[in-house]
């Protein structure tokens, strides 16, 4: 009888755990809820017309700004990744000139605040009105629009950071791998291309996705050169209608939405690249 019951009810030995009431834990929980409730109360009663925020959320000017912010981010990242990869190769090069130049570039562009870079590129025509060789002269003032200044500033800054990420990725590949590539007769470049870079990608992609998310927010600095991005548009709108906070909230909501979406994508990419590890 007993033997039969143990074999038919294998769960007899399962333990059912209960949560015991704990006063301290409950009070701390209530405190958290109270803090959040108070903040919600402040927002609800604040001197702010939520209806205006809502109305401007999908305003075509705001949407254009969102578009520019995405465009700047993508362009700056594409150029930054390409430039950063070249810089990384330069930093690992045995050619002393390129090695020094690459390291110098990274040191310089990581040291300068992005906002200074943007202002310098925007005002570059004061410094260099014309560039060119002999008869081929370029009027810098007509070429360097706020758009170009913004892309250049963001991309050159990003390239310095990407250079370090790419270099760390390449260094993260086992030294024996490049030796194995050399042992079957590959040259340095062949081994980089076929063996080292494909393996470094796994290490490079996750931090690059993070860089893109930072870039989404960093583009807001182009407001100082009126680059038509989300914050520039927002600022223009509120300087006319004085709905300052309402419009800043519009911008905040869009940045939040973009970062959440791309953060989720970055997470998916990271999962995918970690799978083959």
């Amino acid at each position: 009888m007993t033997a039969e019951s143990t074999s038919t009810y294998p769960n007899d030995w399962t333990i059912k755990y209960h949560r015991q009431f704990n006063l301290r834990r409950t009070l701390v929980g209530i405190l958290g809820i109270a803090v959040v409730a108070y903040i919600v109360f402040l927002f609800a009663t604040g001197n702010l017309q939520w209806s205006k925020t809502l109305a401007y959320l999908f305003d075509y000017r705001i949407l254009t700004g969102v578009g520019y912010t995405l465009l700047y981010s993508v362009l700056a990242m594409v150029i930054g990744i390409a430039g950063g990869s070249l810089l990384a190769i330069g930093m690992m090069s045995r050619n002393i000139v390129w090695n020094t130049l690459s390291k110098g570039y990274v040191a310089l562009f990581r040291a300068l605040p992005l906002i200074i870079l943007l202002l310098i590129f925007y005002n570059i025509a004061i410094f260099l009105p014309y560039i060119g060789f002999g008869p081929f002269q370029l009027n810098v003032n007509s070429v360097v629009t706020p758009f170009l200044a913004a892309v250049l500033g963001l991309a050159l800054h990003e390239a310095a950071y990407m250079a370090e990420i790419v270099r760390a990725g390449v260094n993260g590949v086992n030294r024996g791998q490049s030796q194995a590539a050399e042992a079957i007769g590959m040259t340095y470049w062949q081994s980089l291309r076929s063996v080292v870079f494909p393996q470094a990608t796994r290490l490079i992609v996750p931090p690059t996705a993070n860089q893109f998310i930072s870039m989404l927010k960093n583009t807001s600095l182009v407001v100082v050169i009126a680059g038509n991005d989300l914050l520039t548009v927002t600022k223009e709108l509120y300087s006319n209608n004085f709905l300052t906070i309402e419009l800043l909230f519009v911008a905040a909501i869009w940045y939040l939405v973009m970062v959440l979406i791309f953060g989720w994508l970055a997470h998916l990419i990271e999962l995918r690249f970690n799978r083959g590890a």
């Binding site: 791998q177 194995a180 590539a181 042992a183």
Partner: protein, 262 residues
């Protein structure tokens, strides 16, 4: 060496010196190897056996001496009153003549087994994919892994990985095969399959330098056994002599130490 009457050895290692900073790993190492000869190199770890192999195929720079394969100077070229170290395509071309099998296999993890074997012929030799794959499958068949062509290295055992690494080396049609402790990273039950593959290659007439701790394997396969200690050749000769009745006390101590391992 310029004397046409003197029959030159196939692979010549002459008075090799190699330093790591101020530590000398190889000092005045000379070995002559004839085509088809199998040399097993034994000796305590840290004695410079692996460094010797890495110097022979120019993975590492040598500080003194010369290496010749079929009278071609390896790794450097005369320049002014000295030499320049070869690099780029010329060095790569020389390395192709040596197949190297690493202790840690070093298969390319992002490629399938077949791709590991064909990447060299395709990228380095410029063979067509179809031809390289046909040859690659033949080689995988030879090492007993025809059915694992589409697996990735992470999906096969260590012994299988090392056999793929051997097939990868063979795919470049090397003139010399260098084995750097090919079974030291393997679980004991996987050692046999790799040693058997190497033995088959020895019988097929490949010229080989094998760094190993498997004395029984050396006994059966080697034409000559070289005992290495502190970067120097202590003793060399036929396996019966070096392994069964070693002359030098260091060789005697090493061989008895290995045999009383249990």
């Amino acid at each position: 060496m310029t004397d046409q009457m003197m029959k030159s050895h196939f692979l010549r290692v002459e008075h090799l010196d190699k330093w790591y900073d101020d530590f000398q790993v190889l000092s005045d190492v000379s070995i002559d190897i004839d085509q088809g000869e199998v040399i097993c190199i034994i000796g305590p770890s840290g004695s410079g056996k692996s460094s010797l192999l890495r110097c022979v195929n120019n993975l590492e720079k040598i500080d003194g001496g010369r290496i010749y394969l079929e009278d071609e100077l390896i790794g450097m070229a005369p320049y002014k009153d000295g030499f320049v170290r070869l690099d780029g395509p010329v060095a790569a071309g020389q390395r192709q003549k040596f197949g190297f099998v690493f202790q840690q296999f070093q298969l390319f993890p992002h490629m399938t087994v077949l791709e590991n074997v064909t990447v060299g012929p395709i990228r380095v030799k410029g063979e067509s994919r179809a031809a390289a794959e046909k040859r690659g499958r033949d080689l995988l068949d030879k090492v007993g892994l025809a059915d694992r062509a589409t697996s990735y290295p992470s999906g096969i055992s260590g012994g299988q990985q090392q056999r793929v690494a051997i097939a990868r080396a063979l795919a470049m049609d090397p003139q010399v095969l260098l084995f750097d402790e090919p079974t030291s990273a393997l679980d004991p039950e996987l050692v046999g399959e790799v040693l058997k593959t190497i033995k088959d290659l020895a019988h097929a007439g490949y010229t080989m330098l094998v760094v190993t701790h498997q004395l029984e394997f050396a006994q059966k396969v080697a034409d000559r056994v070289v005992f290495f200690d502190h970067g120097k050749i202590v003793e060399s000769g036929p396996p019966e002599t070096v392994l069964k009745s070693p002359q030098d006390p260091r060789t005697q101590a090493f061989i008895s130490a290995i045999q009383t391992e249990v």
